[in-house]
Amino acid sequence: MTSIYLLLAAILFTIGLVGFLLRRNALVVFMCVELMLNAANLVFVAFSTHYGILTGQMAAFFVMVVAAAEVVIGLSIIVMIYRTRRSTSVDNLTVLKG
């Protein structure tokens, strides 16, 4: 059973990663990051059930809390960027270069 969950998690993570690398829309990129986080969560929970130890579930909660905080800040940043630049394409946001 556990291997199925792990497979699912791997598929979700890959989708997230590919989306993160290929998509230009900041909102979609953001969603892909969330997807990867949840793939990781799924792994935590799967192993937690497999070994019967609750530590993994605790870790999953931590990740969720961090993700929630991240969404709050990340979304507001994206909204601000959209307001000032009328675009949410990450390829246009290259001001912070060396």
Binding site: L17, F20, L21, L22, R24, V29, V90, D91, L93, T94, V95, L96, K97, G98
Partner: protein
């Protein structure tokens, strides 16, 4: 001879001996710190300071005079300066027959010079600063002579160096004055090195530098170390007293205001070297080589100084050469040994009077001649300024050793003592006396006699009251100083009463040497008269210079110093600068260039494109994962 007395602890009036130093020092601080608010009356306050010190010194002197000869040294520990391990360095004062004479000379002649300066500097915009520095000079010199240890002496020694620097370059907007001050300071530093080495030697051997502690132990030094100590002290004395080979600064020091020249040459500064040698007599007694070196340096300097005196046309520089020469006599006496020490101090005191007298007289002449110092532009001034002429004339007779004037007694003693110790030194000292007579005659004839060679628009006039009263007082000192001190000073300094070696009466003992000396002096005067009265003096310096004059101008040693020290020093500096520019700079620059290149290469990675960062991160994670798996497999 000078005997080291065991000092008694101060009591009564001697508890207040620190006031001698504190009064002028505080006054200097007051004038410098309060500043412009004291512009109007500061010079009066400053003039009162040395007078107050002089009165106090006089009281202490009378007190010592009444004391038993063996109880004439009093020490006063003011406070403990530093204490480290076995070393304890106290700031203390020693009032003994030697130091009280110096204090009287410094404050007495110093006070007279202050009064003179009231007239001389009356219109100078920086008068307050000038008087503050004068007081600082007096205070530093008093610390120097009143110190009870070499360390405290060194404070005064450096203070004198500082004050002389400030005063020589007093007219600091003149580049030549600024340079002269710097030059004096640098020459003095060389001497300071000698004194420092001597202090370190004493600390290393005895753990103390107190005169009363180290002098009785002088015999315990090994001959080699005693010689080393003697030479280091001699180096120090050479720097401060402008003895060969460190004489170069003295002539340039004439850039300072004339009262400063008088102060440096008569009461403070150059006398410090003689004081140091006499005070350290116990160590020179341990080393024949060092004593002989002192005598030789003195003899060489007295001849070199006299030659310089003959070669200059600048009235102040002639007097400066003559100071070198007279200090040379003192060093010669100090080098002869215990018998000469009292003579050195005797000559120092009489010289203090007649040299201050002549310097202030020269200042008065300059005042009358619109600050011209070239004697070729003087002439026939005796009618225009009779008081200056008469007082200067007395100083002149005193310095050439005219019978019964002060220089006659003191110089005669030195020549006699030199003959007793070494015929060669004696003959050279005798020649020096003749040359002295010659150049002083030349000076007085070119200035006060002959035809008027005045520049246009110059109307000589007698100096104001504040300036001629000091001249009269000093002239009186030059007149009677020898008679008054002759029968007394040897006994006073030896601490044993009147049965000292030498001359217990005010009447000089006319022996064959006295007559020979007088004959040589008369020859010098005649030569001067013949060369400068018989033949008219030109208002212009002859071109080319006569060979003797040309050599005399070189004897300040400037050319030698610049060849031996300045030029190699400059070359070394240029070499180091070149090394810095050609080797060190490129090396450090290379480090900078490499990191700049690295940085601009790495900069390309930071292109601001979020997705590039993402790819980099993903590849990194994959690589790390692979590495972990690899480690796990192995």
């Amino acid at each position: 001879m000078l005997e080291t007395l065991t000092p008694t602890i101060a009591s009564g009036l001697f508890d207040y001996a620190w006031l001698l130093i504190a009064i002028p020092a505080l006054m200097a601080a007051l004038l410098l710190i309060i500043g412009r608010a004291t512009n109007r009356f500061g010079h009066w306050l400053a003039t009162c300071a040395p007078i107050a010190s002089f009165v106090l010194a006089l009281i202490l002197f009378v007190d010592l005079l009444g004391a038993d000869p063996s109880a004439r040294a009093v020490e006063l520990t003011v406070y403990t300066w530093a204490s480290a391990g076995a070393w304890q360095i106290d700031v203390g004062l020693l009032i003994d027959p030697l130091s009280i004479l110096f204090v009287l000379l410094i404050t007495g002649v110093g006070a007279i010079i202050h009064i003179y300066s009231l007239g001389y500097m009356a219109t100078d915009p920086n008068r307050r600063r000038f008087f503050a520095y004068l007081n600082l000079f007096i205070a530093a010199m008093l610390i120097l002579v009143l110190a009870d240890s070499y360390v405290v002496l060194f404070i005064g020694w450096e203070g004198v160096g500082l004050a002389s620097y400030l005063l020589i370059s007093f007219w600091q907007s003149r580049p030549s004055a600024a340079a002269a001050g710097k030059k004096a300071f640098l020459y003095n530093r060389v001497g300071d090195l000698g004194l420092l080495m001597a202090i370190f030697t004493l600390l290393a051997f005895f753990g103390s530098t107190k005169f009363a502690v180290v002098e009785p132990l002088a015999g315990e030094l090994s001959p080699a170390w005693a010689t080393f100590l003697g030479f280091m002290l001699l180096l120090a004395a050479c720097g401060k007293s402008a003895q060969v080979p460190l004489q170069g600064w003295l002539l340039d020091a004439m850039e300072g205001p004339t009262p400063v020249s008088a102060l440096i040459h008569a009461a403070t500064m150059v006398t410090a070297g003689v004081y140091l040698v006499v005070r350290s007599g116990a160590f020179f007694e341990q080393s024949t080589a060092a004593s002989l070196a002192v005598a030789i340096v003195g003899t060489v300097t007295l001849l070199v100084g006299a030659w310089i005196g003959c070669a200059q046309d600048d009235i102040k520089k002639v007097l400066a050469g003559s100071t070198m020469s007279q200090i040379g006599y003192m060093m010669l006496a100090a080098g002869i040994g215990p018998i000469g020490w009292a003579f050195a101090i005797f000559h120092l005191l009489t010289h203090g009077f007649f040299k201050a007298n002549m310097f202030l007289g020269a200042g008065s002449v300059m005042h009358a001649m619109s600050d011209d110092t070239d004697m070729r532009h003087f002439g026939a001034l005796r009618r225009a300024m009779p008081i200056t002429f008469v007082t200067f004339g007395i100083g002149y007779l005193a310095i050439i050793g005219f019978p019964f004037l002060s220089g006659f007694y003191s110089k005669d003693h030195i020549i006699e003592a030199a003959f007793e110790s070494n015929t060669a030194l004696g003959v050279l000292a005798l020649i020096g006396a003749g040359v002295t007579a010659f150049y002083m005659t030349r000076l007085i004839i070119m200035t006060f006699f002959g035809s008027k060679r005045w520049a246009k628009g110059v109307h000589p006039h007698e100096a104001p009251v504040a300036m001629w009263i000091p001249l009269v007082v000093l002239a009186l000192g030059s007149l009677i100083g020898g008679v008054a001190l002759n029968g007394w000073i040897g006994g006073w300094l030896s601490g044993v009463g009147a049965d000292s070696p030498g001359h217990a009466s005010w009447l000089p003992q006319f022996n064959w040497l006295t007559w020979v000396t007088l004959l040589v002096v008369a020859l010098g005067v005649l030569l001067g008269w013949w060369l400068y009265v018989k033949r008219p003096v030109s208002a212009k310096t002859p071109v080319p210079l006569p060979i003797g004059t040309a050599i005399g101008r070189q004897l300040t040693g400037d050319a030698v110093v610049s060849t031996v020290v300045s030029r190699p020093g400059l070359a070394l500096g240029r070499g180091v600068a070149l090394l810095d520019q050609r080797v060190i700079d490129p090396l450090t620059d290379a480090i900078g260039h490499v990191s700049t290149a690295l940085g601009s290469g790495l900069r390309r990675l930071e292109n601001g494109n979020v997705r590039t960062y993402g790819v980099t991160m993903a590849i990194g994670v994959v690589l790390m994962g692979l590495a972990l798996i690899l480690v796990w497999l192995v």
